[in-house]
Each structure stands twice: as structure tokens, then as C-alpha cells.
């Protein structure tokens, strides 16, 4: 791995990574990936987030849906674990709570494939500090 030797290096690297993330997250290309983040902090894992993540990866592959499943930290909604955030290309992210395998199946079939929302949405109720 190349070392980052200066602030200029770091900024270059940042832009590169940001581009990569942006492509993944907000591309307007309809064929691009759906992105799914699974909340994998202690509270999520304790409620079965790991099984849900495995299930999502397997099933999306089986059903031929192009999606990237990644893990992330605590979204803060411990009452509704496991929680996942789904971003369809070009759309705002939606957080779903209480996701078990059954719910995950419903989310894949209805929301990911057809854009139809299902029960269990956790509304965003905070302000982010990003510009």
C-alpha cells in the first residue's frame, strides 16, 4: 500500500475515494448498484444483523440483483435493530428497522426491485453537518 506523505497526497486520495463512494451511492445510471448498509454494532449483531447481512448477500446474488452490501456502525436506532439502510441509485437512502430474514426478503422483492416501500421505515430525525 502506498504511503500518504503529504496533505496534498491525502486530498488526492480523498477525492479518489469520494468519487468511488459517490459513484456507488448516487449514480443516476439505472443499471448501477443498489447500496445496502447493515448496522453492525454490538446492538445490531446481538439482534441478528450478521445473519441478515449474510442472507442479503446470498439472496441478492441468487436473485441477480446488482447490489453492494457493506457494514457500518450504530445508526442509533437500538430499539429497532437490526437496521439496514438501502439506497437505490439516484434516490435518498431509506432506513428500515426490525429487519429479519422475512423482512429482508420483502425489502428485496418490493423496495429494491420495484421501489415500493414496505413497513418498518425509520425516519431520519437528525441534521447532518455535511455541506
Amino acid at each position: 500500500m502506498t504511503k500518504i506523505k503529504s496533505l496534498a497526497d491525502l486530498r488526492k486520495k480523498k477525492e479518489e475515494m469520494e468519487q468511488k463512494l459517490k459513484l456507488r451511492e448516487t449514480s443516476m445510471n439505472p443499471e448501477s448498484y443498489v447500496q445496502i448498509k447493515v448496522g453492525m454494532a454490538t446492538s445490531g449483531i446481538a439482534s441478528g444483523a450478521r445473519e441478515v447481512m449474510d442472507y442479503l448477500m446470498e439472496e441478492l446474488e441468487k436473485r441477480g440483483v446488482d447490489a453492494v452490501v457493506t457494514q457500518t456502525g450504530d445508526m442509533g436506532y437500538c430499539f429497532a435493530e437490526p437496521t439496514i439502510e438501502v439506497t437505490r441509485p439516484g434516490e435518498e437512502p431509506i432506513v428500515f428497522g426490525y429487519v429479519d430474514k422475512k423482512k429482508a426478503d420483502e425489502i428485496i422483492e418490493k423496495y429494491i426491485k420495484n421501489g415500493e416501500l414496505v413497513e418498518g421505515i425509520i425516519p431520519v430525525n437528525y441534521e447532518s453537518i455535511d455541506d
Binding site: K5, M17, K20, I45, P123, V124, N125
Partner: protein
């Protein structure tokens, strides 16, 4: 093929909104969709709490983000016919700005989102914590690069001082000042220590930050190292946080591989590296001197201050100890500037605070609010109110060192100083909400039980005094206390506070004092009337048969585990109070309301 659903009506299904008829509203919306033949184009979906309960029921239209408030079932027809069918927003149902009374059509511009601002949690639940590249994409390590290439250590300290950042571990000591004192101490080696020994019951703020955004803490420690002149960082973390440890290890390796930790970072000549030290889970090791002794391999016992760790700490060298959340705020302060940070919060408490909401509250979880937010907003708006529609009784802040606040404190802004004035403290951020089913004497006893267990035993006021406090509380819950016990409780509490060596002992009686002050009548009921209104203290309650209701079905007698209920078939039964163990089995089995708790 069915038509694609184009529009969604999100109806809040939180407890608050359900109490104001959101369920029949949802049914009405469904009905109207069908009536207008729109069921294949729009869909009604229940969601979790929007955190805006006072204006409920809430309906949000997706994807145009229209936010309707106080929607009644009778409004369903208008929403469907106007908004869904014709695409015109129903003006009168839009949220109007409390200041200028203007309707706000788009939820993004509503002030209520400001109830939570995520600064310390900015990356938590957003990036993959095991991938440094995602952190870099979110301006990661820019702050470190900035201080190393553009700022002197003094300027760095000045920036932190100007930001007004205070210690998030509970004490609230100004962080910049702490850095400055450590910088001024002269030594050949200094240390930066991150206190990740989070031990309050119900608190998990630091764990979540380390699990969700470990690089933020590493970056901040390096910045601190540069500012105070230290090249070594140590994270003291409880061994019972395995996931946080796992992610920290990955993060440290990744940062080293990129040269963001190690020798001559950014070729500036500044070296810094971080190591982990594991704690065995002793509460007292959250106290900085005890923490340092534990890291050195000694017993985790506190020592007298001064000397402060900033002068003489780890291995006798100047050591700067900051808590996880404090560090998590540092990179963003450097990136966005002290002025920006100081613009959030109140005059004496700047920025935000993360709280772990727990107890009898609907939305248990992790929240981050600007300093100065009221307890009411946190509990009833963000937290969605009390579970099962019960009545709010108290909120415990500050963990075993804090106190219980009541209804009259609900409008107190959350700040370091106001909470102390109210008889509690900020603490590290555990917030436990209690309802009418909680007995405050038992709550005080619970915390004392914790501190008795966790007292290191070094000084006698804490070791012996707290044990005596616990015993007195026990006599009260058993119905053996007197008014004199209450006076003794108070006196001993003050002695322990005044004479204990470290923060643990000095604050351990706080839960007792605050409940004594705020719930005095409940204590008096326990000692004078021998009653526990919450029905928690078993010694104070009796199960009795209500003769008028008893039909003699024998269900109670058959289910009594100690056979203390006597009575013939079809005759009124009787409970032998001397043998009753108060398990409540008879109460649950009786179908005729013939068992009563008195």
C-alpha cells in the same frame, strides 16, 4: 404487469401518533386510495417515530418530502384527491414555521431536524468502520494533515480552547486547557491516553463511536500528541468490548499502512503511534489516576490529586487523558473551525452531547443533541415518550455518580452546570427513564449496590460508608425504616461525599441524595405508612382475597407454590400472610378480580 408505485404516504406509527388516531388515519387513506382507483399508483406505509410527536399524526409524502402535521382521519380524502391525484399540496396541513408562520413544504427545511445534530456520531452508521478509505472520503485525517503542515502546536491548542470543548466523560473540564497544561509540563516523553473505560449502567456512547468510527479517535489522538508534544498514544478499553477492540486493531493497522500513524507522519518529522491496553471492567478505572495505575500493571486504585496526570501520569510522565467522545469532536473542530463549533450549544457548554437513551422509553437508542436541549425534547420528542402510555416519573443522568430528575426539571436545558444545579450531572451520557412502576427507594438501592460492588476499598468512607448506606436503604424497602433512618441517610451521604478519596466515593451518595430530595414523600410512605406506591418493595405489599368477588374456584390455591391459600370449594378463600412469598401467582390466575394488592 402491475403499474409501478409512484408515490408513498408514510404514516407515523410511533406511540405518540398512534395515540392520536394514526391507525384510523391510515385506514382512511387506504380507503380513499381505493375509492379513487389509485391503489396501484400510491401506497400507504407505516413508519417508526419521526420524533415530532407534539404535532402528530405525521404524514410524509415520498418522494417529494411533503410533511403534513396534525392530520386527522377526515383529512384523508383531501390529501388523496388533491395531492396524490392532482399533485397539489394541501397547504393547510403543512407544518408552519413557529416564528414567521410560513408553511414549510419540504421536511428538509424544518427546524425540528435540528433537535439532533450528529457531530461526534457523524460517521457512525454511515461509513464502513473497517475500511479506512471510507473515512478518508469523509475528510478523514485532513485535520491531522492540517495541523501538521499549517499549524503550530500552540495554534492547535488555541483552536481547541476557542471551540469551548469540554470533557465528555462527565467532569466537563475544558479540553484545550488540559492540553495546554500537559504541553507546559517538561519531560523527555509524554503520553496521550484515550479513556474508553465506559462503565455506567446503560451507557454505550463510547462503544458505539469506537465500533462505528474508530479512525476519528485515532486521528484526534495524533492531533493531541502533536499539540502536547507526545509521540505515544494508549487506548484504555474494557476487554468486554470485543467488537470495538477488533475494529480499533484493524483501524490502527490500516492507518499505519497509509503512514498516517508511525514515524514522520506527512513527512513532518512528527512521530505518533497508538497501542491498546485492556481493562478488566472495574468501574473505578474510569477515574484517571486509577486508569493510569491499571495501565502500569498496578492495582486499579486511585491516588490523590495533585499531582495531576498532566504533570505526572503514566510511568511518571505527563499524560493527557481524554474520553472517547471528547476525541471524536476534535478532527471536526480543526476542519470546520472553533467558531463553527462554538456556535452550537449554549454559552458555557458548546457543541453537542451523545446520550444513550434507555429504560421505559419508546425509542431506546443513541442520540446526539446540541447542548441546551431540554430533557423534555429528548424524552418526549426524540425518545418518543414513555412506553405503554405510562406516566413519566424520573430520569436518571450521570450514572451512579448522578441523580434522578423529576417532572419539574423537564424543561431544564441539558448543560454541565444546569444539571449540577438540579442535583444531578452530565456524566458520560447514560440516560435512564423511569415510569410510575419504578420505586425510587429501590432505584437508589440499585445504584448503591453498583457502587458498593465497584468500590476499590482503598479509603474507608467509600468502602464502609456506602455499604452502610445500602443497608439503610434495605431496611427502608423492608419496611423497617423510621424517620430517623432518613436523617441518618442524609448525614452519612454528606460525610462520604466530603471525605472520600476519588470521584467514585465523592459522588456515590448522589443517587441517594437526589431521590431523597426529589421523592421525599415516597421515602416517607415507605417508613411511616409502610407502603410502596410502585408495588416494587415486596415486603411492603400483601396479597389479600376480596371476599365479595371470590367464587371459590380454587384456582389460586392450586397455583400457590407454597400452599398458603386455604378454603373449601365454592367458599371464600384466605391467604396466610405469614407463609405468603408474594410471588403474585394467585393474582395472575384469578379470573374474578378477587385478589387485591394492598
Amino acid at each position: 404487469m402491475a403499474k409501478q408505485i409512484k408515490m408513498h404516504l408514510l404514516v407515523c406509527g410511533g406511540t405518540g401518533c398512534r395515540a392520536s388516531e394514526s391507525e384510523s388515519l391510515q385506514a382512511a387513506l387506504d380507503r380513499e386510495l381505493k375509492a379513487n382507483g389509485l391503489e396501484n399508483e400510491a401506497k400507504v406505509v407505516t413508519t417508526g417515530c419521526f420524533g415530532f410527536c407534539e404535532k402528530g399524526p405525521i404524514v410524509k409524502v415520498h418522494p417529494d418530502n411533503t410533511f403534513y402535521v396534525e392530520v386527522k382521519p377526515g383529512d384523508a380524502s383531501e390529501i388523496i384527491k388533491e395531492h396524490v391525484l392532482k399533485g397539489r399540496k394541501v397547504e393547510r396541513l403543512l407544518y408552519s414555521d413557529p416564528q414567521n408562520k410560513e408553511h414549510i413544504p419540504d421536511s428538509k427545511h424544518m427546524g425540528f431536524y435540528r433537535k439532533q445534530i450528529r457531530i461526534a456520531l457523524r460517521n457512525c452508521g454511515f461509513i464502513d468502520p473497517e475500511n479506512i478509505d471510507e473515512y478518508l472520503a469523509r475528510d478523514g485525517y485532513q485535520a491531522l494533515g492540517k495541523v501538521l503542515s499549517e499549524m503550530t502546536p500552540e495554534q492547535t491548542i488555541q483552536e481547541i480552547k476557542l471551540s469551548g470543548l469540554r470533557g465528555r466523560g462527565g467532569g466537563g473540564f475544558p479540553t484545550g486547557l488540559k492540553w495546554e497544561i500537559t504541553r507546559k509540563s517538561v519531560a523527555d516523553q509524554k503520553y496521550v491516553v484515550c479513556n474508553a473505560d465506559e462503565g455506567d449502567p446503560g451507557a454505550f456512547m463510547d462503544r458505539s463511536i469506537l465500533e462505528g468510527d474508530p479512525h476519528a479517535v485515532l486521528e484526534a489522538m495524533a492531533i493531541c500528541g502533536y499539540a502536547i508534544g507526545a509521540t505515544k498514544g494508549l487506548i484504555y478499553i474494557r476487554a468486554e468490548y470485543p467488537l470495538a477492540i477488533h475494529r480499533l486493531k484493524i483501524a490502527i493497522d490500516q492507518a499505519r499502512n497509509y503512514g498516517l500513524l508511525g514515524s514522520s507522519i506527512f513527512e513532518s518529522g512528527f512521530d505518533f503511534d497508538v497501542e491498546l491496553r485492556y481493562g478488566a471492567g472495574a468501574f473505578v478505572c474510569g477515574e484517571e489516576t486509577a486508569l493510569i495505575h491499571s495501565m502500569e500493571g498496578h492495582r486499579g486504585e486511585p491516588t490523590f490529586k495533585p499531582p495531576f496526570p498532566s504533570v505526572e501520569g503514566y510511568l511518571g510522565k505527563p499524560t493527557n487523558v481524554n474520553n472517547v467522545e471528547t476525541f471524536a469532536n476534535v478532527p471536526i473542530i480543526i476542519n470546520k473551525g472553533a467558531k463553527w463549533f462554538a456556535s452550537i450549544g449554549t454559552e458555557k457548554s458548546k457543541g453537542t452531547k451523545v446520550f444513550a437513551l434507555a429504560g421505559k422509553i419508546n425509542n431506546v437508542g443513541l442520540i446526539e443533541v446540541p447542548m441546551g436541549t431540554t430533557l423534555r425534547d429528548v424524552i418526549f420528542e426524540i425518545g418518543g415518550g414513555i412506553k405503554d402510555g405510562k406516566k413519566f416519573k424520573a430520569v436518571q443522568t450521570g450514572g451512579p455518580s448522578g441523580g434522578c430528575l423529576t417532572e419539574k426539571h423537564l424543561d431544564t436545558p441539558i448543560e454541565y452546570d444546569t444539571l449540577i444545579e438540579a442535583g444531578s450531572m452530565m456524566g458520560s451520557g447514560g440516560m435512564i427513564v423511569m415510569d410510575e412502576d419504578d420505586c425510587m427507594v429501590s432505584v437508589a438501592k440499585f445504584y448503591l449496590d453498583f457502587t458498593v460492588e465497584e468500590s476499590c476499598g482503598k479509603c474507608s468512607p467509600c468502602r464502609i460508608g456506602n455499604k452502610r448506606l445500602y443497608e439503610m436503604l434495605e431496611t427502608i424497602t423492608k419496611g423497617e425504616g423510621t424517620m430517623e433512618t432518613l436523617d441518618k441517610l442524609r448525614n452519612l451521604s454528606h460525610v462520604i461525599k466530603d471525605t472520600s478519596l476519588c470521584g467514585l466515593g465523592q459522588t456515590a451518595p448522589n443517587p441517594v441524595l437526589s431521590t431523597l430530595d426529589n421523592f421525599r414523600e415516597e421515602f416517607i410512605e415507605h417508613v411511616v405508612d409502610k407502603k410502596c406506591r410502585a408495588g416494587v418493595c415486596k415486603s411492603l405489599m400483601r396479597y389479600v382475597v376480596v371476599p365479595e368477588n371470590c367464587v371459590g374456584c380454587t384456582a389460586c390455591a392450586r397455583n400457590c407454590p407454597v400452599n398458603c391459600i386455604k378454603g373449601e370449594r365454592k367458599q371464600v378463600h384466605e391467604i396466610d400472610q405469614t407463609a405468603c412469598i408474594k410471588c403474585g401467582a394467585c393474582y395472575e390466575k384469578c379470573k374474578f378480580n378477587a385478589i387485591e394488592i394492598v
